[in-house]
Symmetry: C2
DNA sequence: AACTTTTCATTTGTCAGACATTTAAAAGTC
DNA sequence: GACTTTTAAATGTCTGACAAATGAAAAGTT
């Protein structure tokens, strides 16, 4: 772990890179303790604050955890499913909302991925998943539901659908595709007629899933994709007519 | 941006959370400048090193960039596609290699996702994508290729396939599924017979893509999935017979 | 007046040293 | 032996300082 640092870049960034590579490439094993801050500072020839900034960078990526006290220190972290889930959603959200990704592209990608998950789900889903989906449909039909709550329920519905595949890795991937679009979806105003159509499609989708009818699922998902893109298009047109609200 | 901080948690972590939320929820716009470190330290009642640790956490997630000099400071960053790509691959890699995700689950998820991307690619792929895929097949057939290089070429092949869909968001999602498995794939030793079978399937896959034959693509992908899982199974059995090499 | 050079204030990057707090192990006490 | 106290090690935080980069204003020059 001896690397000469250049002087023309942030020292803390370079140290973070060195340690990050050591962790990713497996030279530092899970739960292994890193040298203390003082030792790291000494071995890289920098001050402790600089080392600490490097360690905080790694902590932000859940690569290490720190513990105070005797026999404390920084330890290589086994990233938890929840941490990875949050990072996935967060990165997807930023990618979609900060880069001029048009809604149609994001939507196409999302439903393409969901189609394959739904196909697996139709083989493996349990009664619990169906029940969760029907519960969300029921919530979506309640009058007086805010657009935001409708959106949240929509996410929960699709999440249950995907979880039906019984593959946590697949669920993790889909989290980015589905939950990452939430900010974009929240810009949509759902009219009563929109909601009715969506709820109808959700019902058809759930029925097809219950019957393990793969083609029926695909049809419903395609229709949902079209519906969603259409609503987004309407929002876009409304924006163009009276700009400034953006 | 005035929030009381508790004393029972890391101050730098709390400050990072506050700023992160402000960015994600859009209260701080892209390219907007954050207050200077001294001002932040003052407004949160902490010292500058503490503020700096918080800012480094955000920088590690590409949420901000910093610039020195007059009119410098920390600016809300528009995350680049490349940054998001790297984060996606990195998170997926860690999730798969650090958590006891069995190979079969990861493999199923990966090919499920790739199936849907391939379906889109069969409609939209250009001649360039086909050429890139055939070039990788050619490389894979070369004798004396290391397992690692074979793996890398395999990734490039599938990446070209996915890129054929012409949807960068889809490519981004698939990057996690495909490249994230690379460490797991690198543990496999590819015998000459294994390689021949894989190359044959790659050729069939490319032919089907050229013919825009969706069902042929699906068949080839399913076979590849089976083949991959089988090879992993063999590695697993070999490990169990003489442990300690792990 | 127009252009060039210099100076300067601002801001991040880094350092040194100190103290506070937490924690586990060692030492002491009953 | 069981409990309490002490101690040492480590992270968390603070203060104050200097270095380096950078843009803008001031000064100087033609």
């Amino acid at each position: 772990m001896k690397t000469e640092l250049r002087q023309d870049r942030d020292l803390s960034a370079q140290i973070a890179d060195v340690l990050r590579n050591a962790i990713i490439e497996g030279r530092l094993l899970i739960d292994e303790r890193l040298p203390s801050e003082a030792e790291l500072a000494d071995s890289y020839g920098v001050s402790r604050p600089t080392v600490r900034e490097a360690l905080k960078r790694l902590a932000a990526q859940s690569l290490i955890r720190t513990q105070r006290g005797a026999s404390g220190g920084a330890f290589v972290n086994r990233i938890s499913y929840d941490d990875a889930y949050g990072q996935q959603v967060s990165t997807a959200t930023l990618l979609l909302s900060m880069n001029e990704v048009d809604f149609e592209t994001a939507c196409d990608a999302r439903f393409a991925l969901e189609r394959s998950a739904a196909a697996l789900s139709s083989e493996r889903r349990s009664a619990d998943h169906l029940a969760a989906m029907r519960a969300e449909i029921h919530r979506q039909a309640q009058p007086g539901l805010s657009d935001e709550s409708f959106c949240a329920s929509d996410v929960a519905f699709h999440r249950a659908l995907v979880d039906g595949a019984g593959n946590p890795v697949l669920s993790w991937h889909l989290a980015g595709a589905i939950e990452g679009m939430q900010p974009l979806m929240n810009m949509i105003t759902f009219s009563a007629r929109d909601r009715a159509r969506i709820i109808d499609l959700h019902a058809k989708l759930t029925d097809a899933l219950e019957a393990r009818n793969a083609s029926g699922i695909e049809t419903a998902l395609d229709a949902l994709c079209q519906e969603t893109k259409q609503m987004a298009e309407q929002v876009k047109e409304a924006r163009q007519q009276r700009p400034g609200t953006a």
